[in-house]
């Protein structure tokens, strides 16, 4: 490997594995991300697959991609691609818009036949010319035939042989980025533990790919990524949905409660159910119910029983759950409702991501029915967000809606295995066993939180329900003044949560005139853009909201300090509107994109600069 030319000014690098849905690109990408994380890099990933289970092979609609961003400081999966692995012409075509001039493209020449080009709707035999990227660096590898050759006596046959092509791509990538193969080998052996023949074949091909790089492409620059300075500790790779599941488990453990999830599958939220269903050893109960409504209703039943109850869903499912959320508001029962937002309205773009459910989360119910709303900002932050959502729910006896999105739910990052001792305590608002004159709606006067008695407790039998109740006696009441009092009290209870959550802090340059405001899963992109602004001498401050209802206590104070506030969201301006409702006269500008795709850091920087200079 002496002949490798290190591109050492390169610290952050984006690689994208792209091919047909059947080409195993998600696996190659995941393994590459894991290896990089294990080598000490920061990572951020973006899987991007078609909505069809299996679209026709070789077509544009069948392309499946997995992008990995690695480096010492990484917050997003990256805008543009440094290295593109294109297993077929369709993959090349789909990704061409994200190539840089300096990009390297690896192609499997065996899949660039006339027929393949036609399937991807190319009209000439030179796809590079046709796409106007004739001068880009290309690594041509006859991957298909090399793999066939290599696995002749491997014990694998037919399709199974070709399924190993992705490991060739991975091996080649390891060579390009100077990754030792032993990490990849051990991951492959774990993955195929039950099929040793498959494991060994994959490892063989992995080496072939690596060797192909080493032997034939000395002239292409290879990369060496600087290691990040992460906190000490044990790490594992998690995607956002898994982190959400872990956050709930951790909260239940911390609170000393049983965890219950009532669910109905829906993309992209299903993995939370599937993850939790595994954890019977930890005592987790999951129920796959007959529909989204039954999903939340079973959770409400479990909450009444005294469990830490949750339900997971995505936009259309949240719409269906609206009425039941209202019941939990009125019954003042704790429940965590996870909405993994996807492209809407209606069925919309189920495999794409956006932030368009905020208003629904805040207001999508009949009557004045306030709930707490929390949003996660990255795959790993889903853990903390789920933990906090649970804490608020059981300490304040309220439904909490946790907003994540398809982008962070499927994206992954290196996750430091948490020490629960370092997390805040969770103390469910139980009755005291010797409590006198207790009624179901007897409240803590300061927080307005009612005291919780669970069925089975002798002497505390009681009835709750969706009808308005008397503030004092807790029996059904239609008294006008009482209703007004209860409406206000439910709102005040939510407002009072502001006293128990972290205040908002400013990142970037706090003394700037311009403040960037974001919430939820756009965090990484916004932070990258803000950093870039400040690095270029354009002073920019940044406030990112994890707690949305209620807003942190210092929100108004902070926002009033800035001359221009740019609220950036993947919708038509929902958080901006909410801020305007809550705080009068703010100098708000809006950056809105609703494309189903992550923000582009470069576009953000361009817009920020424009507003700054305006």
């Amino acid at each position: 490997m002496a002949e490798q030319v290190k591109k050492d000014n390169q610290d952050n690098i984006v690689i994208r594995f792209s091919g047909d849905s059947g080409d195993g690109m998600q696996l190659a990408g995941t393994l590459f991300a894991n290896i990089s994380a294990m080598s000490g890099n920061d990572i951020s990933t973006f899987p991007d697959f078609p909505s069809e289970i299996r679209a026709p092979q070789g077509t544009l609609s069948g392309v499946s991609g997995y992008q990995v961003h690695i480096g010492p400081k990484v917050y997003t999966p990256g805008d543009k691609t440094d290295v593109l692995i294109a297993m077929n012409p369709a993959a090349l075509k789909i990704n061409v818009k994200n190539l840089k001039n300096s990009s390297v493209v690896v192609i499997d020449t065996d899949s660039f036949t006339k027929k393949d080009l036609e399937k991807a709707l190319f009209s000439t035999s030179n796809p590079f010319e046709e796409l106007g990227i004739g001068n880009i660096s290309v690594i041509e590898a006859p991957i298909g035939s090399m793999v066939k050759e290599s696995l002749t006596n491997s014990g694998l046959e037919g399709k199974d042989v070709l399924r190993c092509k992705n490991m060739f791509a991975l091996g080649l990538s390891c060579w390009l980025f100077d990754r030792p193969l032993n990490l990849a080998e051990s991951l492959i052996r774990t993955k195929f533990a039950k099929k040793p023949i498959v494991a060994e074949a994959n490892i063989k091909v992995l080496h072939d790919g690596y060797n192909f790089g080493a032997n034939t492409h000395a002239s292409v620059p290879t990369y060496h990524i600087a290691t990040s300075t992460k906190e000490k500790g044990f790490y594992t790779d998690v995607d956002g949905n898994t982190a959400t599941a872990y956050g709930l488990i951790a909260a239940a453990e911390k609170a000393g409660m049983e965890l219950f999830l009532g669910s109905y599958p829906i993309t992209p939220a299903t993995d939370i159910l599937q993850e939790l269903a595994k954890h019977k050893a930890l005592g987790v109960k999951t129920m796959q119910m007959e529909d989204d409504i039954a999903g939340i209703c079973s959770a409400i039943g479990a909450s009444f029983a005294g469990s830490l109850a949750a339900t997971n869903t995505s936009g259309p499912g949240l719409a269906l759950k609206s009425e039941a959320i209202g019941l939990a508001v009125m019954a003042e029962l704790p429940i965590v409702i996870i909405d993994v937002q996807r492209g809407g309205p209606s069925t919309g773009l189920p495999t794409k991501s956006e932030q368009t459910d905020l208003m629904q989360a805040l207001y999508g119910r009949n009557g004045e029915s306030p709930v707490a709303v929390v949003a996660a900002k990255s795959p790993t932050d889903c853990f903390d967000a789920a933990f906090w959502a649970s804490k608020i729910a059981v300490e304040h006896m309220t439904p909490v809606i946790l907003l994540t999105d398809g982008y962070i739910a499927n994206g992954s990052g290196a996750f430091k295995i948490p020490e629960l001792e370092n997390y805040p305590s969770i103390q469910p608002h139980y009755i005291k066993k010797d409590q006198q004159n207790w009624k179901p709606y007897t409240r803590n006067e300061e927080t307005k939180v009612r005291y919780w008695a669970t069925p089975g407790t002798e002497g505390f039998q009681h009835r709750i329900g969706g009808l308005e109740k008397d503030y004092t006696t807790s029996i059904i009441s239609t008294d006008p003044a009482n209703h007004q009092l209860m409406v206000k009290t439910r709102q005040e209870k939510i407002n009072a949560i502001a006293n128990f959550i972290p205040i908002i802090d400013i990142q970037g340059d706090a003394n700037a005139d311009v403040l960037i405001v974001g919430w939820g899963g756009t965090y990484g992109h916004l932070l990258s853009a803000v950093n870039e602004m400040n690095e270029n001498g354009k002073k920019t401050a940044f406030a990112h909201f994890s707690f949305i209802s209620p807003l942190p206590k210092n929100t108004e104070e902070i926002l009033r300090k800035y001359k221009k506030i740019i609220v950036c969201e993947q919708n038509l301006g929902q958080f901006a509107g909410y801020l305007r409702m809550k705080i009068h006269g703010l100098p708000i500008y809006q950056y809105n994109e609703v494309t189903g795709q992550p923000f582009l850091v470069s576009e953000l920087v361009k817009y920020f600069t424009k507003i700054m200079e305006e």
């Binding site: 007959e290 529909d291 039954a294 209703c297 479990a302 009444f304 002798e458 039998q461 009835r463 709750i464």
Partner: protein, 340 residues
């Protein structure tokens, strides 16, 4: 599964202090009394009982119970009760529901909780009308029923609750009349003792909007003439003077007079509530009146695994094999790396 303490209770121990608000003469009053009595019979202490309802006149019932109670939203009682039961299988969980709550908006949760054989006691208060919303037809109203939402009569056949329950693989079905205290107490008690989803259809009179809908059997005299009270292991004999019986004629039921044409008690069908095949249970539950009597009592009661038990067993089994009990332990056994 359930570790319930049995000690002697009175009906009054299950009665709450709240003033009862149904119309005077409404059948729900009678049902409530029977339920209080049945609970005393069963002997589960009030704090180990949870009564869940949806919305409707009948769904107000939990307020009048000195148990844990939850008056929820329209049609969702079964789903809420299911979550409650799975979360705490030790509780005795009751669902109170009307023909609208259960079979209109709640139809899906009804059939799924039955299919799962969730250990719930489902009391279906069937007055064949929406009482609370003031008298529209319900999924159990007869074809041609005239009411404000169908001023020219309905053009749809009703569900027959037993038929639907069996279509959903029901393991227990019983029927009683609201006012019929001894049979009511008996079947409610049997429902509570059955492990799995027990459906008790209560033929209830809504005195305001559908008075007389069950007139054939709601009064004592009518009942003697028009009903047959089925009892496991007993011959299917009925009539004011026990003069009639049911026999099988090919695949169909037939009414015969004892003593006529040489028919004796020995020829009469013996009720077996435990046959897995529900052919006969269904025929009994849907006998057309007045050619046949209306069947009351426990019609079907078979043993089958319940969801709540099975899930508890599954967790125990997994835990017996896998000692991991904390998230951290679990994670540390996975694919991890250390940053030093």
């Amino acid at each position: 599964m359930s570790e319930l303490t049995y000690k002697p209770f009175q009906a009054s121990d299950y009665k709450s202090a709240q003033a009862v608000r149904w119309c005077p003469g409404c059948g729900d009053h009678f049902l409530l009394n029977s339920l209080h009595k049945a609970m005393a019979n069963i002997g589960i202490p009030p704090h180990q009982i949870a009564v869940i309802s949806g919305i409707g006149c009948s769904s107000r019932l939990p307020y009048y119970m000195n148990t844990y109670g939850f008056h929820t939203i329209h049609g969702r009682g079964a789903a809420i009760a299911s979550g409650l039961k799975v979360a705490n299988p030790k509780l005795s969980v009751w669902q109170i529901t009307g023909d609208g709550d259960c079979l209109a908006i709640g139809g899906n949760h009804f059939i799924h909780s039955i299919r799962r054989n969730m250990d719930l006691n489902i009391v279906l208060v069937n007055n064949r009308v929406y009482g609370l919303t003031k008298g529209q037809y319900s999924p159990t109203s007869d074809r041609g029923y005239v009411c404000k939402s169908a001023p020219y009569g309905t053009v749809e056949d009703p569900f027959r609750p037993a038929e639907l329950a069996f279509g959903a693989r029901g393991t227990f079905f019983a029927r009683t009349v609201d006012v019929d205290s001894p049979v009511a107490v008996e079947v409610l008690t049997a429902a509570a003792k059955h492990k799995g989803a027990s459906v008790v259809e209560v033929l209830e009179n809504c005195i305001i909007f559908n008075d007389g809908t069950h007139s054939a059997v709601s009064k004592k005299e009518g009942r003697a003439k028009n009903a047959i009270v089925l009892q496991h292991g007993k011959p299917m004999i009925f009539g004011e003077n026990n003069e009639k019986g049911l026999i099988l004629d090919g695949m169909n039921l037939k009414v015969v007079n004892l003593g006529e044409n040489g028919v004796t008690e020995k020829d009469i069908l013996i009720h077996d509530e435990t046959t897995i095949d529900f052919t006969l249970h269904l025929k009994l539950a849907t006998m057309p009146f007045p050619e046949f009597p209306i069947a009351l009592g426990v019609i079907r009661s078979i043993k089958a695994p319940t969801y709540d038990e099975e899930i508890t067993v599954q967790i125990k089994d997994v835990q017996a094999k896998n000692p991991t009990r904390s998230l951290k332990d679990y994670l540390m056994k996975g694919e991890i790396w250390e940053v030093k």
